[in-house]
């Protein structure tokens, strides 16, 4: 085994499981998660020479996220179905790629309890900050690096995500939106 490969195995592969956890919450089907992870690891390996003394985990997560985004873009180009309701986008926070595909999503999350289902229904930009903060325990600065936005944006997305999840959670259990307490 050559030197770069050995160094890559020692420094990057320990984060493989975490990267896979992250990928699962970005993509829709298990097969897609597998492909995204494999592509990300290969890209990481090609770019590995560029990495010196920086944060390997955030770096790998950023690559996973990019692989996911390019896969999505590719799928959309292939389908190229025009959006029927373009005026919806004028709404300040349009829920980009938020609605999961009904069948695969239901099948995948069938065995999960409510919170998992509510998470899956969140807009992607909210879902990813929640996973990075609450599950992967990255700091704001690291999340900013992974999602390629300023720290202020990370903070506001995180706040929106927590508020949304709480709101949907309460709706689920109270049957209706809670009145202002």
């Amino acid at each position: 085994m050559d030197e770069k490969r050995a160094r890559f195995d020692a420094e990057v592969l320990p984060h493989l499981d975490a990267a896979y956890r992250f990928a699962q919450w970005l993509v829709r089907s298990p097969a897609d998660a597998d492909d995204v992870l494999q592509e990300a690891i290969l890209r990481a390996f090609r770019g590995f020479d560029g990495l010196r003394g920086s944060d390997v985990k955030s770096w790998l997560f950023a690559i996973v996220r990019n692989c996911h985004l390019s896969a999505v873009a590719q799928r959309e180009r292939r389908q190229s179905v025009p959006l029927p309701n373009e005026h919806d986008e004028r709404d300040g926070h349009a829920m980009i790629s938020s609605a999961p595909e009904p069948e695969t999503e239901t099948m995948r999350r069938d065995d999960e309890r409510t919170l998992g289902r509510l998470m899956a229904a969140l807009p992607e930009e909210q879902r990813e900050v929640l996973i990075l903060r609450e599950i992967e325990e990255l700091g704001y600065r690291e999340i900013a690096a992974v999602t390629n936005v300023p720290i202020g944006t990370v903070m506001s997305r995180l706040a929106r995500a927590r508020a949304q999840l709480k709101h949907r959670w309460q709706k689920e259990f109270d049957g209706e939106p809670q009145a202002v307490r």
Binding site: I41, G47, W59, T114, I135, L158, K166
Partner: protein, 273 residues
């Protein structure tokens, strides 16, 4: 009094909860918390949400076949890269012994970003550059020893020498296997489950590692006898946080990819044990 009047609940409280307020502002907010029921309730909600997510979100473990597939793809890739490298950069230095520690000026002829352009998207490149600037390369070999020991421990069958959730089993085991007698305690109720102990070798002695599980993360708490050297300050290397403290005649270091607040909370627990 009508609720939702406290501005802190939506501004600094979440930042405090995430462990991102500086010490001064955190102390200020803690004083504020003592007198503000709304913020206390808000903090409780944040805690509940985090606990619920950690408890209920399901993750599939990485399938072994996928790992095999990736490994094979890497083999092909490194075979290709090997050939290309030899042509463009005058040989990759294949004859050298493998150093796991990063070499700051290795392959100096090659600009550090050259490889990144080969395959990584622009955003990832930007991210890696930003991080590169944020995290200075360390010089203390102890840091590398600690990170390497942690990474090694995560490889299959390396994690635990004595598997037990009982401090009264783990602690005596150390007596025969390492040179130190560290603090061992189980904090399952606080979210840090003791899962075992291991002997490691660094700082020129047989050091102890006490292993905790926190959610999806493994935390190694290393301990070794002081050698009169200065204790390194808390730092982050290769995505792992290292928190140092000194207790009795031992130096301790907790290493993990958990968040800082989670790691420091364990340090606090161990210090007061």
């Amino acid at each position: 009094m009508s609720p939702r009047l406290c501005a802190e609940t939506s501004t600094r409280l979440p930042v405090y909860f995430d462990g991102e307020l500086d010490a001064l502002a955190a102390a200020e907010l803690e004083r504020h918390l003592a007198g503000c029921a709304e913020c206390r309730a808000g903090l409780e909600e944040l805690r509940e949400l985090r606990a619920a997510l950690r408890r209920e979100l399901k993750f599939r473990p990485t399938p072994p076949e996928l790992k095999t597939r990736i490994s094979a793809a890497l083999d092909r890739e490194s075979a290709d890269a090997h050939g290309a490298d030899a042509q463009t950069a005058g040989g990759p230095g294949a004859g050298r012994v493998l150093p796991i520690t990063p070499r700051p000026t290795a392959r100096g002829a090659r600009p550090f970003w050259a490889g990144a352009f080969a395959g990584v998207g622009a955003a990832a490149l930007a991210a890696s550059l930003a991080l590169f600037l944020l995290v200075p390369a360390g010089v203390d070999p102890l840091l590398d020893d600690l990170v390497n020991a942690h990474v090694r421990s995560l490889m299959p069958a390396h994690l635990i020498d004595v598997e037990s959730t009982d401090r009264h089993t783990v602690k005596p085991w150390f007596a025969g296997h390492v040179d130190v007698s560290p603090v061992v305690a189980d904090f399952t109720d606080q979210g840090y489950k003791l899962i075992g102990g291991r002997a490691d070798y660094f700082a020129h002695q047989r050091a102890a590692a006490v292993i905790y599980q926190h959610g999806a993360h493994i935390i190694n708490v290393f301990s070794w006898s002081q050698e009169g050297k200065r204790l390194p300050s808390d730092t982050t290397r290769n995505g792992y946080h290292l928190a140092f403290w000194r207790l009795g005649n031992l130096d301790y270091c907790a290493v993990s990819d958990t968040g800082w607040d989670e790691l420091l909370a364990l340090e606090k627990l161990l210090k007061t044990e």
